[in-house]
């Protein structure tokens, strides 16, 4: 019993939970920033910059607007970090399966990854500043745009694997590499949707600084802001890990440390694609984003599902 408690706490707080995810998240942020900088012909930050930013923010004063709901305002960043850490438990990092693996954990991960966006919305809404209000409405509107193609795109792999477990899907894709090639359109859709989930260019509409200043985070400062930013970093890693497990065969059934290396390589590869997207495009408007997601990405995702069903029948 004691042992179980200890190992649960270890998973949640150390690996692959808070500590690892925090460290790897800030590293991934640095990778993203340096790649983005190099693509723009800039030098970019040193490797410790995201950590330095975090520490600096932690040391700063937290200012809560008088009109805000103080309890909610404080608790939201923690909820965001907690939900992302919990999601990480179900995504394979070390070995073929996550710490917790069950039929339907794919749905649970997607659900848990929606919570940060919900906290962004509430954060903006309860800070009762006009910029934050507009930003949070945008965040919520955007949520309804990208979640549909994201959910649809992972249905295809689930049908091929005949399972709603991330580990099973990864195993099926490792056993049959053809699945990876067939699902490339789905991967592309999922990557774009992930970019939207992470609110990055061209979908950084809720945070568009030239329009709504800081968006939902306008009134956030100090440690609370640091936690939100950390949650975003972690979300990038979890999202990348999820896509690598669902579309790219996860750890490729490699044993132990080698599987972990595969995990690192694939997540960083996905971060590279996300940075490239960010460097190549301008921010689109919210109604263009919704049009893109509903009129193009969602139908393509449906076609992908049909293709996957047909392939499943043939095999």
């Amino acid at each position: 019993m004691d042992c179980t408690v200890f190992s649960s706490a270890f998973s949640l707080l150390v690996f692959p939970g808070l500590l690892f995810l925090g460290a790897y998240g800030t590293f991934a942020e640095w990778v993203d920033r340096i790649l983005y900088a190099r693509m723009q012909n800039r030098v970019g930050p040193p490797i410790y910059q995201p950590v330095a930013d975090f520490i600096k923010l932690m040391a700063k004063e937290v200012i809560i607007p008088e009109a805000a709901d103080k309890g909610l305002f404080r608790v939201l960043p923690v909820v965001a970090v907690a939900s992302v850490c919990t999601a990480m438990l179900m995504v394979p990092a070390w070995g073929p399966a996550g710490v917790v693996s069950f039929q339907g954990d794919l749905v649970a991960v997607l659900y848990l990854l929606t919570i940060p966006t919900a906290t962004f919305f509430l954060a903006g809404w309860c800070s009762s500043s006009p910029y934050a209000t507009v930003g949070s409405v945008r965040a919520l509107t955007q949520l309804f745009a990208y979640e549909v193609p994201l959910f649809l795109s992972v249905v295809g792999p689930a049908i091929l694997a005949g399972s709603l477990s991330v580990a099973d899907i990864a195993a099926a894709f490792t056993a049959n590499p053809l699945f990876i090639a067939v699902n490339l359109p789905g991967l592309a859709i999922a990557l774009l949707a992930l970019q939207g989930k992470l609110e990055r260019v061209p979908f950084d509409i809720p945070h568009a600084e030239t329009e709504v200043v800081g968006g939902p985070f306008t009134e956030y400062s100090g440690g609370l802001l640091a936690l939100f930013l950390l949650a975003t970093d972690m979300e990038m890693v979890v999202g990348a890990a999820l896509l690598s497990a669902v579309f790219l065969g996860g750890s490729l059934a490699l044993p132990g440390a080698l599987g972990f290396v595969a995990f690192l390589a694939k997540t960083l590869g996905i971060v590279f694609v996300l940075s490239l997207t960010r460097a190549l495009m301008a921010r689109i408007r919210i109604e263009q984003m919704i049009g893109l997601c509903w009129k193009i990405l969602a139908p393509v995702a449906l076609l992908q599902i049909i293709a996957d069903i047909l392939i499943k029948k043939v095999i």
Partner: protein, 400 residues
């Protein structure tokens, strides 16, 4: 959906200078826009009356940080007309040289800012990197990057050497290649098109009615360019086109500015290859005879107008500066209304505004009366103004 009013400015990340745009939103759509200016009045015109004609050059150079050469050249156009000074051809050529280099750097700067406003920071970084080539040329020719201080009454202060000429011609080849890339980008990149097409529309008749100037007017099909309409310096002898576009939207403004890069390069090549020999300046008297003159100049942002009046002394009686941005503000509310919140920064940026160059204090009252306020009544007025808006500065310690 309930209407919500958002203040954009005076402090806002989209604005590099203070200005206030009160936007009434219905969801993301703008149903009303009010523009309030006057946060950056510096009293430059008044200060000009306290300095002599030569000192005023250095003061007026600081009207604008980007088109600094435009303001001094425009001012000197008026002064030299009153004083009946004949500036030597070489001096005029060097003024054109700096003017067109300035236009190049200003348009590249604008392109970068526009990129940043639509979240395309890569374009921002690229455009500003390429702008550095021009800045290096300006520094080489004039000794300064921003306030060039090349102009003086009766000519220019520094000559252009053959080495400088070669260096500039070499730079122009690089910049021309990059300009091609930007034209391609502006006309083909999907997200840029999505953000600029049909945004901030200003139809041709509205542009004329609201007296738009510069690239804003030219992008609405109005072929207004002082360099062609009322040639000054050497522009009458140079071969270049007035770029116009019938798009009437932000994309048109991007196109006009991008294509003007080529025209400026063309002008620079002509000037450098046919640089007249001779002196660069004539000696000017300290005192300027009585008289008045209006001078027009095509700054990168549009028509700049300076009015100078002299009573025969060392100092001007009156200097009036009409910066191009002032002429374009009249079109702003029209372009904003009916658009989306997301487009506001871009539409504002698309006129390439210079807030602080524009701010002048003129009291206009409904009954046609004008008057002046002394310092105490101005402070009293300010206190009442803020109190009526719920801000009471009399409670702030240390304030009267």
């Amino acid at each position: 959906m309930a209407k919500i009013t958002i203040p954009l400015g005076p402090q806002h990340p989209a604005l590099k200078e203070p200005g206030n745009f009160l936007l009434t939103l219905e969801g993301e759509s703008i149903v009303g826009a009010t523009i309030r200016l006057g946060y950056n009045h510096r009293g430059i015109e008044k200060a000009c009356e306290q300095r002599n004609f030569l000192q005023d050059i250095y003061l007026l150079e600081r009207v604008c940080g980007i088109c600094s050469h435009s303001h001094t050249t425009c001012y000197l156009g008026a002064v030299e007309e009153i004083a009946k000074l004949e500036v030597p051809k070489r001096g005029l050529a060097i003024r054109v040289l700096v003017a067109e280099l300035e236009r190049l750097h200003s348009h590249l700067l604008w392109l970068g800012v526009a990129g940043h406003e639509i979240g395309f920071d890569t374009l921002f970084m690229y455009a500003w990197r390429d702008r550095e080539h021009i800045m290096d040329c300006l520094e080489m020719v004039t000794g300064n990057r921003v306030n060039y201080a090349i102009n003086t009454v009766g000519g220019v202060r520094r000559d252009v050497t053959p080495e400088m000429k070669d260096k500039i011609l070499k730079t122009l080849t690089v910049v021309e290649e990059r300009a091609n890339y930007y034209v391609e980008l502006a006309t083909q990149e999907v997200t840029v098109l999505a953000r600029c097409k049909d945004v901030g529309r200003l139809p041709n008749d509205e542009a004329v009615r609201r007296c738009a100037v510069g690239p804003l007017a030219r992008a609405s099909g109005v072929a207004s360019d002082v360099r062609k309409d009322d040639p000054y310096l050497l522009y009458g002898e140079l071969d270049f086109k007035v770029i116009t576009s019938d798009r009437c939207d932000v994309l048109g403004r991007v196109e006009v500015r991008a294509l003007e890069l080529f025209e400026s390069i063309k002008i620079l090549r002509q000037v450098l290859n046919g640089l007249p020999e001779g002196p660069i300046a004539v000696k000017a008297p300290r005192k300027v005879p009585a008289g008045e003159a209006v001078s027009r100049y095509e700054a990168p942002r549009g028509e700049d107008i300076h009015y100078v009046r002299s009573s025969g002394g060392e100092k001007p009686d009156r200097v009036k500066v009409r910066a191009p941005t002032l002429a374009n503000w009249a079109s702003m509310a029209y372009m904003l209304e009916g658009g989306y919140l997301a487009d506001v920064p871009l539409v504002i940026a698309a006129i390439d505004p210079c807030f602080s160059c524009t701010d002048r204090a003129i009291a206009v009252r409904g009954d046609g009366q004008s008057g002046s306020l002394d310092w105490d009544s101005l402070r009293r007025y300010a206190r009442e103004f803020h109190r009526s808006r719920g801000v009471d500065f009399s409670n702030v310690p240390g304030r009267v």
